[in-house]
């Protein structure tokens, strides 16, 4: 129903793997996609998750990258005919016995992309952030950037054999990053910071990953006195809406945007077939734990070829949104492969 007013960028995807120099000569970039962003001095800055794989030098082996104990790139090889291993998901290596992930096939780090016009980007030659060995031996993923009190904060997923948790880092210039620790323990993802204090507190949305037996993968809200420590965890909204497009799980997308009606939150909803679409929430401006309204139909679904096939097919994954005149400008990861842009009138979303 919103299709008339959705304007996907004609240059989509605006960032592709062909433009990215591998971190080391023996790596190959397989995706540059989910990205947190900000606008500074008229320029658009996107911190993009970049996934890279290694060449497998031995036949019948899969060689995968990870971060070794000293913080350096390392590799590990698995025999493809090992009967104890499951390679059926191209993103992971699993132990068949207990179903546990024992390695990721790619390593994600962050690469900075900068643009004068918001469409044509130049991409850093090297990662702007590399994973650390303790909690990110398997990579760092899906950054969101929030501009708050003259600083830029990144919330992102730290992935390791200890699980997937949410870490925080700050920067003023995208050159130097200060790590501020893991703010939400595993299993948690899709954390977005609000861009200002509300009633003297910082707020954040997050998504516990409840793949187990009790609870659903819903969006929660928490508050903090100092950004480092979080409490008052409260369920905000669930995936049990009866809407097929968001029946499996949901997660916040871009950091909340302050609009006259309240806080606008773009989020992703996942259906039973693991198809990622985009919806929106409107939260009360003074008490963001109150959901004022919510889209029953997705605003954006995977339709274009670049959204339908890639490292993870059938995916639109919004992580960045700006208000620009009457429009919301959204950058999203497409099929875990490229970065795309779509402009949607705010009025259309609020309808």
């Amino acid at each position: 129903m919103y299709n008339k007013t959705i304007r996907r960028c004609r240059e989509n995807p605006v960032i592709t793997i062909d433009e990215v120099t591998p971190t080391t000569p023996n790596m190959q970039v397989v995706g540059i996609f989910n990205c947190g962003g900000t606008r500074l001095n008229g320029k658009t800055y996107l911190v993009c998750r970049t996934a890279e794989i290694l060449d497998s030098p031995l036949p019948d082996n899969l060689t995968v990258p990870y971060i070794g104990p000293e913080g350096k790139l390392a590799s590990q090889s698995f025999k493809l005919n090992n009967p104890e291993l499951d390679f059926s998901d191209n993103r992971i290596v699993k132990n068949k016995m207990n179903g546990k992930v024992i390695a990721l096939t790619s390593l994600s780090s962050f690469r900075l992309a900068v643009s004068e016009d918001g469409v044509h980007f130049s991409i850093g030659e090297k990662p702007c952030m590399m994973p650390n060995p303790l909690l990110e031996e398997w990579g760092m993923e899906d950054p969101r950037v929030t501009s708050l009190e003259d600083c830029l904060y990144l919330t992102y997923s730290s992935v390791s054999s200890h699980g997937v948790g949410v870490s925080l880092a700050s920067t003023k210039d995208f050159q130097v990053f200060e790590r501020m620790g893991m703010i939400l323990p595993p299993p948690n993802k899709d954390a977005v910071l609000f861009p200002e204090k509300i009633n003297g507190r910082y707020y954040l949305l997050h998504r516990p990953s409840l793949e187990g037996t009790i609870g659903d993968s819903d969006i929660w809200i928490a508050d903090s006195p100092d950004l480092l420590h979080w409490g008052n965890h409260t369920p905000l909204c669930g995936c049990e809406t009866g809407n097929e497009w968001e029946s499996r799980k949901i997660g916040a997308g871009a950091p909340p945007l302050r609009v006259p009606q309240g806080w606008l939150v773009l989020y992703h909803g996942v259906d039973a077939q693991q198809r990622y679409s985009m919806g929106a929430l409107l939260l009360d401006k003074d008490d963001p734990s109150i959901v004022l309204s919510r889209t029953s139909q997705p605003i954006l679904t995977p339709e274009e070829t670049y959204e339908r096939s890639g490292f993870f097919a059938e995916t639109v994954f919004p992580c960045t949104a700006f208000l620009e005149g009457p429009d919301v400008v959204i950058y999203y990861g497409a099929a875990d492969n490229s970065v795309c842009r779509v402009d949607i009138p705010l009025e259309t979303i609020l309808e």
Copy 2:
């Protein structure tokens, strides 16, 4: 190897279901077990998890209790021949299709037990804390009590359809409790507060329940400026030790005890057959994120009849420990059915 010096209380179990008045006449107490405790003015106070079921008035139905939206006891009935439901675990009702828990068969609340001699207890006629409707519709479980800065703090599991998270409450008298919110989002359990600040920060151990594909159910440590908000989540120690008795998962038991050598933490380890035993950790006194040593063999395993059969068989689950002369006095839940006491020389544990 420690068996010679383990002195189980001759009066074990020291608290049994026969002594507990049901919360309402139509309820039946099926367990009084995992308990947090403190000693005040020479008396021992234990806040005990009490599990109660409802009579099922209709044949071929299972009627289960829960907390309704207004905070009152409510009930729900399931047809035992419903092909979509799985009743094979006597503690839960599951949806066969997606494996999700849709109800618990019992409702847990907290009951206060008080003793002059640490062996004979008188038990409150009514619960001292009842679950709240939002995050505890299915109950509150496994309290730990920490005496800290002239106040008593309870960390416990809040169980609902939103998952199992860790909540905090405070009390000065076990009569009036102040709820302080959910401090760790689901899935998390087995949180214990340290009894004093270390280097100006509060510390807590917790256990994310990673039954999913990435990560193990290990013990983590976190810090806080105010007890309400927690950050710097860091893995402390894992279950991947090669020791069969703790191969499935581990979790902190009693709040840490300050001993000359550091912080002594009693914990439970679970083997592949879901048998719960007790081990111990020694943490550095100035930096509790450093593990100085760890028992390779369990200190206590289910051996007595009251530890081997009950609502959940083969379980010793320590939640309270005091130093008393040369001994550590430990109260533990036995088989999710009763409260027991064991005295073990500190020296034996430290060996």
